[in-house]
């Protein structure tokens, strides 16, 4: 277990980083050498679920890749006798040094590679296929090549939706409807997404399941001690992290800073993360440079700091633990999930956010403050209010943390395994029924 121990005023030490959790797998592995009888008993008794995951995957840098890695890792911890498989989607020009868990690759714009991947899965020991769906990661019209894979697949499939558009164009609507038709279950991460699928896409309610976005397992620590460890002691820290793009609306948070600085001269706003690789290919660092210009123009050089690189989970958690107020000033009101907001909740942070769909749902009941879109004044008011009222901030942090615990990856993994088991049971029952019908027909 790696630890980063800090001390708060000489009192008990505590961990800032997320400890590794591979203990069940490790224990089982050790048993094979030390107590083969118990090992064989466990092997016989424990459930085996061979799942494959079709998605982008690290080292590709995107939210879906990170999500998939987190999900695969979390599920693998509970299934020591199963071998997870990742079918990674990538662009032809990318040469990704994937880990060995990636056993098959799909070239995004090569339709045949989707069929080939389905055939690979059909010939494998995989029981169930989990597809991480986002229009942009698959090739074809609105990513419809993924439908070819599922049509060719002879194993049950479930799809987790990372985007549900409120007003889809006809192609976008068709792709999601077909996906729902071909998959056994569609997973959404918020209740609003479920209702949109029913109302706007006509998808049957029984096909839709809700499983929340996972968050790292982080126990609450003192913000003051972590800021000391990071060399930013005595600063009030605001932060926003993720792959930077224009949809993040960071300019509105920066514009809010002069008013916050006037009240709290020690405030520091951290903008953490590199520019989204897709955005960088399109416009380079234009957006970041505009933000830097704004910082100079507003004379905020001592109050806004950028960290322009892809941050590891440990780094993210450390910065989040150092944060007094987490800000998501996002601009897209239809956004139905945000991994970064989920992480901030998991770390028990006070959060100020614009009211996009995901934020509206998870920050309800006092777990955060919602402010108008594109409103620096509203951001400033909310942040100042929280910094002025430590009791209110602490209450909000406690509520956020409590909510986040239920959505820790170790709980979300159990929800997915439960879903996989239910789908497999149903599929097997349906298959048995079909065989009985065929046998009965043959007898006639």
């Amino acid at each position: 277990m790696r630890t980063d121990k800090a001390r708060d005023d000489g009192r008990a030490p505590y961990q800032v980083e997320v400890p590794e959790e591979y203990v069940l797998r490790d224990e089982v592995r050790w048993l094979q050498a030390e107590d083969n009888k118990l090992f064989r008993f466990l092997k016989e008794a424990m459930n085996k679920t061979e799942a494959a995951y079709v998605a982008t995957y690290p080292p590709s840098e995107c939210g879906i890749a990170t999500f998939t890695q987190d999900l695969v890792t979390a599920i693998a911890k509970y299934t020591p006798f199963s071998r997870p498989t990742v079918v990674a989607v990538k662009r032809r020009e990318e040469i990704e040094p994937y880990g060995k868990i990636v056993r098959c690759q799909i070239l995004k714009d090569d339709r045949q590679s989707y069929i080939d991947a389905a055939r690979y899965l059909n010939d494998s020991t995989v029981d169930i296929v989990s597809i991480q769906h986002e229009y942009g990661i698959f090739g074809g019209t609105e990513g419809d090549y993924i439908l070819d894979l599922i049509r060719e697949l002879k194993k049950p499939a479930v799809a987790t939706l990372h985007t549900v558009l409120h007003s889809p164009d006809p192609n976008q609507k068709r792709v999601l409807q077909d996906l729902a038709e071909l998959c056994q279950v569609i997973v959404v991460m918020v209740r609003t997404g479920r209702q949109m699928l029913i109302d706007s896409y006509g998808i049957e309610p029984r096909k839709i399941t809700m499983i929340q976005h996972g968050v790292p397992n982080v126990h609450r620590v003192s913000t003051a001690a972590v800021t000391r460890a990071l060399g930013i002691a005595d600063r009030k820290v605001l932060s926003t992290f993720g792959l930077i793009n224009r949809g993040k609306g960071i300019e509105y948070a920066i514009e809010a800073m002069p008013r916050i600085v006037a009240k709290y001269p020690n405030v520091l706003y951290l903008v953490l993360g590199e520019t989204h690789p897709g955005v960088r290919a399109w416009e380079g660092e234009a957006y970041r440079n505009e933000l830097l210009d704004m910082v100079r123009r507003l004379k905020l050089e001592n109050h806004v700091r950028f960290n322009n690189r892809f941050l590891s989970l440990d780094e993210l958690v450390r910065y989040l633990c150092a944060t007094d107020v987490y800000v998501t000033p996002y601009l897209n009101k239809d956004q139905i999930v945000s991994g970064t907001l989920a992480y901030a909740l998991g770390c028990g942070k006070a959060i100020v956010s614009t009211p996009y769909l995901y934020a509206q749902e998870v920050l309800g009941e006092g777990r955060g403050v919602l402010v108008d879109f594109r409103s620096p004044d509203a951001v400033a008011d909310a942040v100042i209010d929280l910094l002025e009222d430590p009791t209110k901030k602490e209450r909000m942090e406690s509520l956020a943390y409590k909510y986040g615990r239920r959505t820790a990856w170790f709980n979300v993994a159990i929800d997915y395994l439960d879903l996989f088991h239910r789908v497999l049971l149903r599929t097997r029952a349906e298959k048995a029924l079909r065989q009985d019908e065929v046998a009965a027909e043959a007898k006639k």
Binding site: L24, D35, N217, H219, R405, F410, I414
Partner: protein, 122 residues
């Protein structure tokens, strides 16, 4: 900062009952492991682990239980788990560990079962 797990050990029907309250996860499971080792080394190979007040258990917590079972079974003992929560029960069922650790809803019943097992072995 105090981690979110409280552990109390008492005896019922001559069997140590380790009562866990809170979260059994990567941060807290080493103390749970210590409690099991203490009980086994004090000559009690069979243990009841009461999880009626456990809110969450992760794979580290399950791994700790498996590690405890190894030590317990080496001395001819067993480990029974008491839990009422559907969430905790689901974790055992989903992993298949409910076939490894007998699950009980009642602590006394679990202790009696393990005590009877001990007498049969004698």
């Amino acid at each position: 900062m105090e981690m979110d797990l409280q552990i109390r050990t008492r005896t019922q029907e001559g069997i140590p009952v380790i009562q866990l309250s809170g979260e059994v996860d990567a941060y807290t499971c080493s103390r749970f492991r210590d409690a099991m080792i203490d009980a086994i080394e004090q000559g009690h190979p069979s243990i009841v682990v009461s999880m009626t007040d456990v809110e969450y258990i992760d794979s580290s917590g399950l791994g700790t239980l498996v590690g405890g079972l190894k030590r317990s079974s080496e001395k001819g003992g067993r480990i029974a788990v008491v839990c009422n929560s559907s969430q905790i029960r689901k974790v055992f069922e989903i992993t298949g560990l409910e076939k490894v650790f007998p699950l009980f809803e009642d602590e006394t019943e679990a202790a009696r079962e393990l005590a009877a097992h001990g007498r049969r072995r004698e």
